[in-house]
């Protein structure tokens, strides 16, 4: 029996909702449990799971509890849900736990030397706290999204006037003095400084640098909107100035999706003025020829390869050629069982990884649809019903309002992966697994289980990339092995995974 209950006027954070749902699924007889804020997207997802929901009767502030229970007395299960929400059973009282201040003023009073505040609140509250932090002389990392462009400009201008920086809004990753903030991998500290207008772009770049033995001192995230004309790259340019002034940094990398042209020009001018070696990776941008100290790259792995060559005093062109030769060999590879089906489905948790994969794959397969496509005309009408070649970013706002980001809770992406795999027209499923602090404890496990549960005679070819380092808490080798045991081809970079997945199809099309 499937039943919905609604809770009004109470707020629960997404982690609590995820943990309660998981706890409920452990109860004998509970087939499914879903706890979501009643956003339009979540209502669609719950309807797709078979729950009957009357359209238009809820506001996004309502909590929907959906239970599928095969035994009698379903109301007892709802009582359990409510008791878990009131007092989570996994929450143990630790008498020795230090007090954690719950307000900015409280935190400042005990951390008088602090110079950075990380703010992660619903967007409508975040701006006031960010301004309060700035007025207290703190730099700000603004993890929150749903901040208006006007507010973003206001706080960034205020910060800039006061020699401070706002990283974000929607900044999920940063590294300061070698220490990761938000979603971050365990990487060594070193001579590289990065300014990034993309979260998983910064993660992938740092992972690729780490795999080449190169460390990062600062990774300054700016939020994707910073490089738009309206904001004018205020934080990006401030970040470059900071890295330029830092004597520990000998190489600066600028990374992100392509900025608006006038912002790009300002960024290039600023980089040239640093007098330091710089590498630019604005994915998919028409990049220029390398200059004396400024080098260009189109992909994140290439960016790391160029940086490695510069730091080691090697020939950059030769390093690029070597990489291209490796890519060429990879694109000629074929699985022994052949490929059945016509389309590639890219199912991503990392936004920039999804973007880069589309950029690379478009040379081999077209058109590529998605919820964040490279070309607007290929935007899917319904992200839950992909068509043709489709690349979906499950970290987009439509999937994260009132529910956890898929890097934290990979269950929804795993469900979608199973569903897509059972579509006979799908030949290749491409996906990412992002490790590091902030990400799920064992993200490959759910994907591997979903692949094993796929009900189809000949399964699609699975191609994946695990973005992580050997020192990440999830154990990189274990995560790769979980996928490989489920028959997944695991590549060494996001670029390679996208290239392999798309070239498998393009050769068949030829």
């Amino acid at each position: 029996m499937k039943k919905i209950e609604v809770v009004r006027g109470e707020y629960y954070d997404s982690v609590t909702l995820m943990l309660v749902a998981k706890e409920m699924k452990k109860i004998d007889g509970v087939v499914d449990a879903a706890l979501n804020m009643a956003t339009e997207a979540n209502i669609e997802i719950m309807k797709a799971a078979g729950f009957e929901i009357e359209a238009g009767s809820f506001s996004p502030d309502n909590l929907l509890i959906g239970i599928d229970y095969v035994k009698d007395e379903i109301d007892r299960i709802f009582e359990t849900v409510r008791s878990y929400l009131a007092s989570p059973p996994w929450k143990k009282k630790e008498e020795d736990t230090e007090y954690s201040p719950g307000t900015l003023d409280g935190a400042i009073s005990v951390l008088r030397d602090a110079n950075l505040a990380l703010i992660s609140l619903p967007g409508r509250f975040a701006v006031a706290e960010a301004m309060k932090a700035l007025k207290n002389g703190l730099n700000v990392m603004l993890y929150s999204d749903n901040v208006t462009i006007e507010d973003e400009i206001k706080i960034k201008k205020f910060a800039d006037r006061n020699d401070l920086i706002v990283m974000g809004p929607d900044c999920g990753t940063a590294v300061i003095n070698g220490k990761g903030l938000g979603f971050s991998n365990v990487c060594p500290e070193g001579p590289v400084g990065i300014v990034a207008a993309s979260g998983t772009g910064l993660q992938e770049l740092m992972v690729q640098l780490t795999r080449r033995g190169i460390g990062v001192k600062h990774g300054i995230g700016t939020g994707g909107r910073d490089v738009k004309r309206t904001v004018g790259g205020i934080s990006f340019l401030k970040g470059i100035r900071e890295l330029s002034d830092n004597p520990d940094i000998s190489l600066i990398i600028a990374v992100g999706k392509p900025p608006d042209p006038e912002v790009k020009e300002r960024i290039l001018d600023s980089l040239r003025k640093t007098g330091k070696n710089c590498v630019i990776c604005f994915m998919g941008d028409d990049h220029g020829k390398d200059e004396a100290s400024v080098h260009y790259s189109a992909e994140l792995e290439e960016c790391a390869v160029v940086a490695e060559a510069i730091l080691n005093g090697k020939d950059v062109s030769l390093a690029r050629e070597k990489l291209r030769a490796e890519y060429a060999r990879l694109s000629g590879w074929r699985p022994t069982g052949g490929v059945k089906g016509r389309y590639v489905r890219g199912l991503f948790t990392g936004g920039t990884l999804c973007y880069e994969a589309q950029y690379i794959a478009q040379s081999h397969i077209n058109p590529i649809y998605g919820n964040a496509p490279l070309r607007k005309e290929f935007k899917l009408k319904n992200s839950l019903k992909p068509i043709g070649h489709s690349f979906i970013d499950y970290g987009e706002d439509e999937f994260t309002q009132g529910r956890l980001h898929p890097m934290i809770d990979p269950s929804f992406r795993a469900e979608q992966l199973k569903e897509q795999s059972e579509d006979n027209s799908v030949a290749v499923v491409l996906f990412d697994v992002v490790l590091g602090y902030g990400s799920a404890e064992n993200p490959s496990q759910e994907v591997a289980e979903a692949i094993r549960a796929v009900n189809r005679g000949i399964k699609p070819v699975y191609v994946a990339y695990v973005c992580g380092t050997a020192r990440d808490p999830q154990d990189l080798a274990k995560q790769i092995s979980l996928l490989e045991d489920a028959g997944v081809i695991v590549c060494e970079s996001n670029a390679r995974a996208a290239l392999l997945a798309s070239s498998l199809i393009s050769r068949r099309e030829r």
Binding site: K93, D96, T97, Y99, S100, T103, D105, G106, V110, R112
Partner: protein
């Protein structure tokens, strides 16, 4: 009758042999009552020191009503419940202001709604020791530790103690009015006074995790006492 011999004690539990009746027994503490109704406690953890308490290696099974002999003989004095410190360092004001909001929720709002009539707080709210009592103890602690007179407050609540709350709570409040406090509170007050941030976080952590609502109510009362203390008419 069994006899127990603690190895450490608070300074206000004098040497001698006592015959006490078990009132409440828990895994880490047992509370006893003497013939005058006063509370005594045996503990296994030094963090839990309170007035008239002593430490023992282990607690044998005891049930309410049992008569127990306790020999306070040669037990070292390791805790003085009458220790006072100075005012908290004002740099922590941001911290104690947020403690005030610990009662701004459905469960503890009843305290917030009765602040102007302290006697109404006696026995009010959830918890084994009603949260209103914990709030009052925090409030009295802040006033006393800062060397302020709390006669007005004591006058208002003393009359309500015997009829409006539990025996244990009334003992706790009477001790506070006598200037005797729990170790957790004294240590937090000392850390706040000495300006040691890490100590403040550690000691406040030990209080906020104490009981279901006791710690939160105590901290809120303590913060209220500090803030309210600036007005001598009100303390």
């Amino acid at each position: 009758m069994i006899y127990l011999y603690p190895y450490e004690r608070s300074s206000d539990w004098q040497e001698g042999t006592y015959r006490l009746t078990v009132k409440t027994a828990f895994s880490k503490s047992v509370n006893f009552r003497d013939e005058h109704g006063r509370r005594y406690s045996l503990l296994v953890d030094a963090e839990d020191y309170l007035p008239r308490s002593a430490l023992i290696e282990g607690l044998p099974p005891m049930a309410s009503g049992h008569e127990i002999g306790i020999g306070i003989i040669g037990a070292a004095v390791k805790f003085n419940p009458s220790t006072t410190t100075g005012l908290p360092d004002r740099k922590f004001r941001g911290l104690w202001l947020e403690w005030l909001s610990l009662i701004d929720n459905a469960e503890l709002k009843c305290i917030l709604e009765n602040l102007e009539e302290p006697f109404k707080l006696v026995g009010l709210g959830p918890g084994l020791t009603p949260a209103g009592d914990d709030f009052l103890v925090g409030w009295i602690t802040a006033s006393k530790l800062a060397g302020r007179n709390s006669n007005k407050l004591s006058g208002e609540i003393e009359e309500a103690l015997s009829r409006k709350t539990t025996w244990f709570s009334s003992e706790m409040i009477r001790d506070a009015l006598d200037g005797k406090f729990w170790k957790r509170g004294i240590e937090l007050a000392r850390a706040l006074n000495e300006g040691e941030s890490l100590q403040v976080l550690e000691k406040a952590g030990r209080i906020i995790n104490w009981g279901h609502s006791s710690g939160r109510a105590w901290l809120a009362g303590f913060a209220f006492g500090i803030e309210r203390g600036s007005d001598p008419q009100l303390t």
